[in-house]
Symmetry: C3
Subunit: 352 residues, 3 copies
């Protein structure tokens, strides 16, 4: 691997060096795991205590001191670390430009752009289109009439079902399923009759979808994942859902049919949303939140059923105090009883 | 695509036309997305407001009016729409009858029925049996001694482990795993020793299983998914579970070992069931419900821990009123204190 | 299948026979499903009632009687049953020693140990290493520079991403993804910029990972699954997580980034853990538990937000009594009002 002077790194990230500017950095690592010769970063205050003890030779942070090691001071340490990290990481997309493997089965009607890589034992269906420089790793199934844009990266064991559309610079991690049938049945007496799912999935530019996530095709029309959306592993997106630009969906989130998310929505891990609701721009749902109705823009909700986060926190804090409340009410009852007796005694006293 | 007179469609679904019966329909779509020339439907009252504004040329609904467009009036709009939709959808199972791909590896001892399709790079193990007209898409792994019935449809990247049995007209979506080992260990001092999972999975007729769902094989005997069950994406079914006829399991549901579901049970999204319990016929579990004990037939439960739904709703409503309750009790305490003082004052007054 | 005298089985498990020692056993099964000629076991007291009615010809249990059938009495019936079961189960790992399939694509730089099996349509990348006697079923993707130890068993459709390390005797079930990118982005104005994930996943000896589970690679350094850990289906492990030795993670559990688990931790189904926390040795989390902060060693927590289990149980019991509490407080209020009136009346009476 290459190595760099700390000064070069500071210049790269537009940061100020506090301490010895003459040292040499040969790698990157987390603050706990870093060894001598590596640079690390501090972005989460939970890790403040490691600042004094890290074995790293330098730290990217948003402060002037607190470390025996030189600091590169920047306002956004994570973003700066990201830039430094890219110096040391092998560019794996370049590394994988290997052309089309002899065993890849590509329908003669498929249109394959320039510099596309397709791995061993892939299947590309009829009339499918792959844009320039897109990389497909081994064992991927691209069904008929799928359209994939440029510079995409598709990991092993991905399935993209017929007619689905994928933009540019989209990353699909291993095991992702795009365009599986929506879950729709109509009761016909006792039986559940399958409703044909004849819509598609449309994924816009710069989307990333995590391992083993599933995005169902629409009943009619399209399930839409808009530009810049990031979806973590094992997420479920039902038919006819729309996810707005730049939204972030953490692992194991589930969104039911026809629900629509605005821009820049954040759903934390394992959150679940019922169908046919609207989540406004910039809304947030806490981890495991169970969202049963629409959420206005710029609102954070949490808990089950999900409520405005401040209220939810208050309620959960009060729940923790229920043992006290029950005791208090029990005591109050006795005191009231005592008072009632007293009143009686008083009145009987008067009778005397 | 074909086009139909509205009258033809009304006859097909046994509905009554309110308005112009002479128009021509060329496609189907959702009420919000439909364009001129298409027919849509209204089944969910949340969408009532779209009835007045839809661009569709006709609407299937259960009412007489409320729309400037002609209505086909039926009692079950979704079911009627389903019938109409099937006129316009390409029959994909027909389209895919392509025979057995040259690269499919099929053990010589496997028995393959008439008109079976097997896609590229599939593997079919020893003594496996596939019934007539079953379609297997590319990159599927069917292990030794698996039995699959007639008219099944198996999507890419499905794994069916050894000896598992699958009925007729079963649909397995991409990434489904049938027959993975049950999760069973016995403590041997500090260590967890694996319990061999020598049972199977038996899937009956007309079952559909969603993308990336996992159905574990039994420790001994069989994990059983009965006739007509519909399972959504990313569902987990543990070893020795039995799911009764026509039950519906929404996405990301998890069922622990040896739990048994009756007929026509509905589990909403992300619901979780502990092991070794019984869920009665027609029971329902709400989204994210955490079921810790058996549920009687014809009962709806929800919440964590799951309780009878009416009670659960009442309790969650009361939880929302906890801030008020704490305030009330605080005030009551003061009033009682005041009364106690008063009593004291009174008695001291008497002493005067 | 073979058959055995009950006495032979008792000797094998070190148990004492209560009843007829002369019968012959030809198979194993669960207590409800067992037929004549089979042996079963009773380990869960929920099944006590089956002891009197099972059709099995003998029962392994930790008691002297209660069954009309002979009992093999042992202290740990499940472990004893496990030993007996292994007599009757075909050793599938042996059965599958089939060598390297002609269609397996193995990079010339890969190092393959003795007696390794690799199934049809597998891909093994550059410089990958597979230890002796490891079995890889069809359609597996092992990326560049992956290291796999000895005696591992890898089911279909597994993806192991580049550079990840896997110990000895590791079992990866169908659809598992090891080494997918961690979910990390840095805000760059409005956009989420991907943080390169240049770390790996390290899986130690004797680990088992369930179907369609996903283990993300670290941002830098390694996500670590330590010796003896057992992970169920559809579990999500985020980047830089450490799971301590012999821990058990039930189905659909999710662990967020950088969280660390001690030894022998148990997470029940669908439990979710936020990032950057510590879970102490022998800690347990109840099903669906939502863990928002670190958990000390030897502590059980449950509920949302997760609290010490005894307290959580108490709180959930009190929640169930909220309807009563609200009523009681309402009544108390009336009684206090009454008392206040009384006091007034009294004082006004004095005024007379």
């Amino acid at each position: 691997m290459a190595s760099y002077k700390l000064e070069e790194l500071a210049r790269l990230v537009g940061g100020e060096i506090i301490g010895d500017r003459d040292i040499t950095i040969g790698g990157v690592a987390g603050i706990k795991e870093a060894r001598e010769g590596e640079i690390t970063f501090l972005a989460n205050s939970k890790y403040d205590s490691y600042l004094a003890t890290t074995r790293a030779s330098a730290v990217i942070a948003d402060r002037n001191g607190g470390s025996p090691k030189p600091i590169i001071k920047v306002s956004n340490p994570y973003l700066a670390f990201l830039k430094v990290m890219s110096l040391f990481s092998v560019d794996s997309s370049e590394r994988r430009q290997r052309g089309i493997h002899a065993t890849a089965i590509i329908s003669t009607s498929a249109k394959i752009g320039a510099d596309v890589s397709i791995g061993a034992y892939c299947y590309v269906g009829e009339n499918a289109m792959l844009g320039s420089r897109t990389t497909v790793l081994p064992l991927v199934c691209i069904c008929d009439e799928v359209k994939i844009g440029e510079d995409c990266f598709i990991y092993p064991h991905v399935t993209i079902r017929e007619q689905c559309e994928i933009g540019n610079r989209v990353i699909l991690h291993a095991g992702v399923v795009v365009g599986s049938d929506g879950f729709g049945y109509a009761k016909d007496g006792e039986l559940n009759r399958k409703i044909p799912q004849i819509g598609i999935v449309r994924i816009e530019d710069d989307v990333e979808i995590g391992a083993n996530a599933a995005i169902d095709r629409a009943t009619t029309d399209a399930t839409i994942i808009k530009r810049g959306v990031k979806i973590d592993n094992l997420v479920q997106i039902a038919h006819n859902v729309v996810v707005g630009e730049d939204s972030i969906l953490a692992a194991q989130v589930g969104i039911s049919g026809s629900t629509q998310l605005g821009r820049n929505v954040v759903l934390a891990g394992q959150a679940g949303l019922v169908g046919h609701i609207q989540i406004g721009d910039n809304a947030m749902v806490g981890a495991q939140g169970g969202v049963t109705k629409s959420v206005p823009a710029n609102t954070k909700v949490s808990g089950y059923p999900a409520r405005e986060h401040g209220l939810a926190r208050k309620i959960y804090a009060l729940i923790a105090r229920l043992p006290d409340l029950f005791k208090e009410v029990g005591l109050l009852e006795k005191r009231v009883e005592e008072l009632e007796k007293g009143t009686k005694v008083d009145s009987s006293a008067k009778d005397d």
